[in-house]
């Protein structure tokens, strides 16, 4: 157990190092330079460009830049090229904005996907199962931005509530209830959109996992000895079918930082995804690289946690 933990931590650190190198190379070897972004801007005199290049070590060779950049990142000194704000502070602010979307989206995904998947596994081949299958394919295939527009049209026409942004602008002195409802309405659509693909995929996965377990011998035995079907389904089958999903708790971690670029742009939600998109537009390399680095760390931590959980939950696995 300990040796497994040690080995996998070392492995993950090596992986992380290569991720750092590759993302740095991708960004810096791509044609164009940040100092050339706006050559027509009269404020961008050659001296300014030179000062800029020197301030951000752009005149040094690539490997020196690499070391400088990650040293700054680990000591928290990296600043955005666009406005000289510390990157970590900016990411922290945007992260807090994305967090409610992530939480509501995850709760929606997990609370809806399980009942749907379990029910369609129990009633397999029936009308419910087939329509649930079709709807989940539909949700999986619909382009997110197109679905967003359909939902916006529906909600705005049916309920006459504003949905773009985090809250209605200039909504200062109203009762607490209305302010809360306003926030809820604004939160609802983006988080539903964020959850659609998750619901579709997860409910299919729950269904297939449940079917897998239902065909096992011990379920047949339970049925043969005359247990009521609820007990067979929910006690014998479901508990075993849930095993792989415990490990998926680790895998939702990367979603924390992912923040959908497209959905946040449509809803003008000032979250992580939109910040990353703006950083790409402005060629703000420190932010792009930091977001990339943090999300890689989260992916690695997520897989590590899911491995550990798997060992804890399933006594059949020894490493």
């Amino acid at each position: 157990m300990l040796s497994f933990i040690g080995r996998s931590i070392i492995q993950k650190i090596i992986t992380l190092f290569f991720v750092m190198v590759i993302s740095f190379l991708i960004i810096h070897l791509a044609p164009g330079e940040p100092s050339q972004v706006d050559p027509l801007n009269p404020k961008f005199t050659p001296e300014m460009v030179e000062r800029f290049r020197e301030a951000f070590h752009l005149d040094k060779p690539l490997h020196v830049q690499f070391v400088y950049f990650y040293r700054d990142l680990f000591t928290g000194k990296t600043v955005s090229w666009k406005d000289n704000e510390p990157v970590l502070k900016k990411i922290g602010e945007r992260f807090l904005n994305s967090l409610p979307l992530f939480i509501v989206g995850t709760i929606l995904t997990w609370t809806l996907a399980f009942p749907i998947g379990i029910r369609s596994a129990i009633a397999r081949g029936g009308v419910y199962d087939r329509s649930a299958t079709f709807v989940s394919y539909l949700l999986y295939s619909i382009p997110g931005f197109f679905f967003a527009y359909i939902l916006i049209l529906l909600v705005v026409n049916a309920f006459h509530v504003p949905v773009i942004g985090m809250k209605t602008f200039g909504f200062g002195d109203v009762s607490v209830l209305r302010a809360v409802m306003d926030r809820v309405w604004h939160l609802l659509l983006p988080s539903v959109l964020g959850a659609t693909v998750g619901i579709a995929v997860l409910s299919r996965y729950v269904r297939s996992q449940m079917l897998e377990v239902e065909s096992q011998d011990y379920v047949r035995t339970a049925r043969a000895k005359g247990l009521p079907s609820e007990q067979v389904h929910y006690k014998h089958a479901l508990r075993n079918a849930l095993l792989p999903f415990v490990t998926m708790f680790g895998l939702i971690l990367p979603g924390l930082i992912g923040g959908s670029v497209i959905i946040e742009s449509i809803f003008s939600w000032p979250g992580m995804g939109r910040m990353a998109f703006e950083a790409i537009l402005a060629r703000d390399y420190p932010i792009i690289l930091s977001v990339n680095f943090i999300s890689a760390v989260l992916v690695l931590i997520g897989t590590f946690i899911s491995d550990l959980l798997y060992m804890v939950v399933d006594p059949r696995i020894h490493l």
């Binding site: 090596i14 991720v19 791509a30 490997h63 079709f134 295939s141 382009p143 497209i262 537009l281």
Partner: protein
């Protein structure tokens, strides 16, 4: 010996139950017909293919039948199925069908011809991107599954490091140190040409023994590469690279292809690991068939099922990614219309001209849905374990 022959003859005479006389395609079709959604997916798949082909023929060239770039400002934002106002148009501006089948956009371009062009652009992006991904996936998975146990020696790693870092430094503008590293690497690669003749194999000093030590296996190397690639947030990575590179259709295909080969690699590797232990591979080896021929002629055809499934679903997701990129303004650049482009141009007029949003939106939805349904149906058919359960 004689009795054996007799038995054999007798056995042949008995009218016993024989294996069903069914070709692979017949079986495939029989199983597919049971899954109605997959059949619908296949039909739309084929129809989309022909529409895309027609789009390529009818909308490209110098004087296409349907001109997707023809601007008629006096006819902008006409709803679908509206008649052109012939008195305002010059003869060459009249739409080919005599009617705006799907309306016009804000520049008065015929949405029908733009959709036709978008069909082939989107499908090309999807197919080429997935083609690249599958090609890389099969090669990586093949090497990892077949040669997986072969060790990588310390000197291999050092040489690869020298060449890569040397090349990188050379490109990054440090010609001396880069050149030296590159030279050392190349010299080491070429050295066996005269090395063996001069010294033979006895010169195993301590340094040489360290260099020849097995560091890790090829399998580990490739799987760690897959892990590294899986660490990147995919859409964000694609967006970054596409935004940094000059805008072109080919860049988008290549970038989507280069970031989506990991699944195929894992499938192919898993299949090859089990195929490697089977008798026909041993037989091929005993016959002296070369390794690469065994991989590509004998093993890969047996491992194609999961690859086909993931390719079908991959095309769907490549089309979605392209549409998303176009939506954000980083898609295929303007002279070509794609469905994502049409939608993102039309979203500003969602209240005045909803068809500009809904026609491409539903087109993408239907095509992607068809690919996904067909892919899932294919998975059920090709995997005997899932068959009974459906």
């Amino acid at each position: 010996m004689k009795t054996d022959q007799k038995n054999f003859v007798q056995k042949k005479d008995i009218e016993g139950p024989s294996a069903p006389q069914e070709s692979r395609w017949q079986e495939f079709w029989r199983l597919l017909r049971r899954n109605r959604l997959a059949v619908a997916g296949l039909i739309i798949f084929v129809a989309f293919f022909f529409i895309a082909l027609a789009g390529l023929v009818l909308t490209s060239g110098t004087s296409p039948v349907f001109d997707p770039a023809m601007v008629r400002l006096q006819e902008k934002l006409r709803p679908p199925l509206s008649e052109p106002r012939l008195e305002d148009l010059r003869p060459e501006e009249v739409p080919t069908l005599g009617i705006y089948l799907l309306g016009t956009d804000d520049l008065g371009r015929d949405v029908f011809s733009r959709m036709l062009q978008g069909a082939w652009v989107s499908s090309t992006v999807g197919f080429v991107a997935v083609g690249i991904a599958v090609l890389i996936g099969i090669c990586m998975g093949g090497i990892s599954g077949y040669f997986g146990r072969n060790p990588v020696r310390v000197d291999h790693i050092l040489v690869a490091f020298c060449v890569v870092v040397g090349g990188g430094l050379l490109l990054a503008g440090a010609p001396f140190s880069g050149g030296v590293l590159l030279l050392i690497g190349c010299a080491y690669i070429l050295s066996p040409l005269w090395w063996r003749k001069a010294w033979g194999r006895q010169s195993a000093t301590r340094v040489m023994r360290f260099l020849y030590k097995d560091a890790l296996s090829i399998d580990t190397l490739i799987m760690r590469l897959v892990d590294i690639m899986l660490c990147f947030p995919v859409f964000f990575l694609i967006l970054t690279v596409v935004a940094l590179l000059p805008a072109s259709m080919y860049n988008i295909m290549i970038v989507i292809g280069l970031t989506s080969w990991m699944g195929t690699t894992r499938f192919v590797r898993a299949e090859l690991l089990s195929l490697r232990e089977q008798d026909f591979v041993t037989a091929a080896k005993a016959l002296g068939v070369s390794d690469w021929r065994i991989i590509f002629r004998h093993m890969i055809p047996n491992a194609m099922a999961p690859v086909l499934v993931s390719a079908t679903i991959g095309i769907a997701s490549a089309i979605l990614i392209e549409a998303g990129l176009s939506f954000l303004g980083f898609g295929v650049p303007p002279p070509h219309a794609t469905w994502g482009n049409i939608l993102s141009d039309g979203k500003r007029f969602i209240f005045d001209a909803p068809w500009l949003t809904f026609i491409p939106g539903f087109a993408i939805l239907i095509v992607v849905l068809a690919f996904n349904l067909f892919g899932e149906g294919l998975r059920d058919i090709l995997n005997p374990k899932l068959r009974e359960r459906y």
